[in-house]
Amino acid sequence: MPPRFGKLDLAAWAKSVPTIKGYKTEPWLLKGAKILTINMEIDDDPADFLLPATMHPSIPEYAIFCVTNYPDSPVGAFSIGEVRISGRTGVRPRGFVLRSFCDNEDARRELAARWGYPTVAGDVKIELRHDRVVALVGAGGKRVLECELLDRDMISGGDIQYIASMHLARNEDDGKLVLVQVDPDFTFSKAERGKPRIILLDNDAFGAGDHLRLANPISATFTTADVTLPKIRYICNPELPAMQGTTKVAA
């Protein structure tokens, strides 16, 4: 087994995690979502402190900046902007979500209670221009993320591979910390690829401190898709390697 595991300070991180109300949520079908994703390599050693001990860092590690607009949902339209750190639970590619900013209070509450999204209130916007797609995330009157896809180019949705997310949350039933795996299903109607660019990143706003150091740009994609936020199938004990601490909670 590879000896590199995440080194997240669980006790410190646990102070700001959401409470998940059981693992019985029904799926949400969210039609016509617009998703901007920027992949950037990050410096390996410091980034290990942004992954829980359940996960291995990918080789190399990269950050996923994902900003999504959902024009329709059971709680109305909402947008969400988040940063994930790539890793592996056992042999599976996963992204650990540091923090999500969301512009709809009802959506924020539901996403946290149903899937353990670590959401906080924020302003989230995606702007489409002919040569680029720009995402802006702000909170408390301050910009915390500005990123863009440059030189839009059509590709096939079949070429896109989004990886599942891991959310650190506290289980309402027993008060224990748990890593919740959320693996949405995507049906793409449009996909574009371009050059990635991070214009502004407030590390502290995402809880990353000095551990998130941007390195080599990888790719940017912008897709339109019907997204299904699924039933929760797997949870992990955040203190144990995934091979030892994973529990299946639904088929």
Binding site: N39, S58, G90, Q161, I218
Partner: protein, 370 residues
């Protein structure tokens, strides 16, 4: 049916001064023994930056050492990454020619294009370009080996007329292969008259279809070289033990370790969406195949682990679907002690090889005599 070895050269942490040397020494000892036992070939990959998984970044040097330590085994330089940021085509032509000379004409050349973002980005190579540059390289390479003077004006590279020396020892030139991982690459191999160096499995039914398709297409190929290399080879794991349960137990540890390591790498497709990489490549495919629940005894289909009788049965299935050669991975992270690896090779040569026509006739006698 022939049998060979296939090296990724996996090195466990912590990396002390002696760690990598010990692993390389172990590999060379295995190769020398395999040569004496009648194994047909030794292949070594080209990988870069794949910590622990593969420390085989200069395979031509490792293979030169193999050639010096062996008498009969062929040496497979495969795959050579045919991407200009990794290898200039002139250097490929030159160093393969030297290796062919030093090995006395025992070189096979496998070609490919890398499947990880880890490597491609490390050399600042674009994943969108690799299939195109691979195609350009494989059309140039035989000409660089055989034409006294060569010039080229192409898409990804060019050169004025020069005499590329030395020339390979084998005439007209060493056999050429293509690494087959993505769906349809076996067709690329067949259309160009190149051997299919299969790195994935996908079940015997799928394999049989692939081999049939390959053999049909290669009959009407336009060869890139002066000879057609119609051959189908595949990669497998090997752990052979008299006790079936012990063989499966250690074999599963080997495959599990290899696949666990492979999964930590960043596949090109995961990070950089491109039609150039429709599949994740070797890594997840081998993982699925070798990590399945297996049969009643726990042995995955098609994998060479267990006692000799079980391995004979599995290898017969490979033979039946038209595979000419199986190349074995013997270790990962040194999870199998060296002595056990050597014993496994001896037992395989003694008890399994004699069941296959084309495997060394002297295999059984050699193994029994040691």
């Amino acid at each position: 049916m022939k049998f060979g070895l296939f090296y990724e050269i996996s090195v466990p942490r912590p990396w002390g001064r002696e760690t990598e040397k010990t692993v390389y020494d172990n590999c060379l000892e295995q190769v020398a023994l395999a040569d004496s036992l009648g194994f047909d070939s030794v292949w070594a990959v080209e990988h870069h930056f794949l910590e622990e998984y593969s420390h085989c970044s200069a395979p031509e040097l490792f293979l030169t050492a193999c050639a010096m330590k062996t008498k009969k085994m062929r040496v497979g330089h495969g795959i050579v990454v045919c991407v200009p940021e990794f290898n200039h085509p002139i250097k490929i032509a030159e160093r393969t020619a030297v290796l062919d000379i030093l090995s006395g004409g025992r070189l096979d050349v496998g070609t490919g294009r890398s499947a990880t973002w880890t490597e491609l980005a490390g050399f600042r190579a674009s994943p969108d370009e690799t299939k195109k540059t691979w195609d350009e390289f494989v059309h140039c390479l035989p000409k660089m080996w055989t034409q006294e003077r060569f010039s080229y004006q192409g898409r990804s590279w060019s050169m004025p007329q020069r005499t590329i020396v030395p020339k390979p020892y084998q005439k007209p030139h060493p056999p050429l292969w293509v690494a087959v991982t993505s769906p349809g690459t076996e067709i690329d191999a067949a259309e160009r008259g190149m051997g299919s160096l299969g790195l994935t499995f996908g079940g015997f039914a799928e394999q049989e279809e692939k081999v049939k398709r390959y053999r049909k297409i290669i009959r009407n190929c336009t060869p890139v070289g002066e000879v057609v290399n119609e051959a189908v080879s595949t990669v497998n794991f090997l752990y052979c033990h008299e006790d079936d349960a012990e063989g499966i137990k250690v074999g599963r540890r080997l495959t599990g370790t290899f696949n666990y390591l492979a999964a930590q790498l960043l596949a090109a497709r995961e990070a950089y969406p491109s039609k150039s990489y429709p599949s994740l490549g070797l890594l997840p495919s081998l993982r699925q195949e070798a990590s399945g629940p297996g049969d009643a005894a726990g042995a995955p289909e098609g994998i060479a682990m267990g006692n000799p009788a079980r391995i004979v049965r599995e290898m017969k299935k490979w033979e039946a679907v038209g595979v000419d050669r199986v190349n074995f991975l013997l270790n990962a992270l040194e999870t199998v002690p060296q002595q056990k690896v050597l014993d496994s090779l001896r037992l395989f040569a003694k008890e399994v090889m004699p069941h296959f026509q084309g495997a060394s006739d002297s295999a059984s006698a050699a193994a029994g005599g040691r």
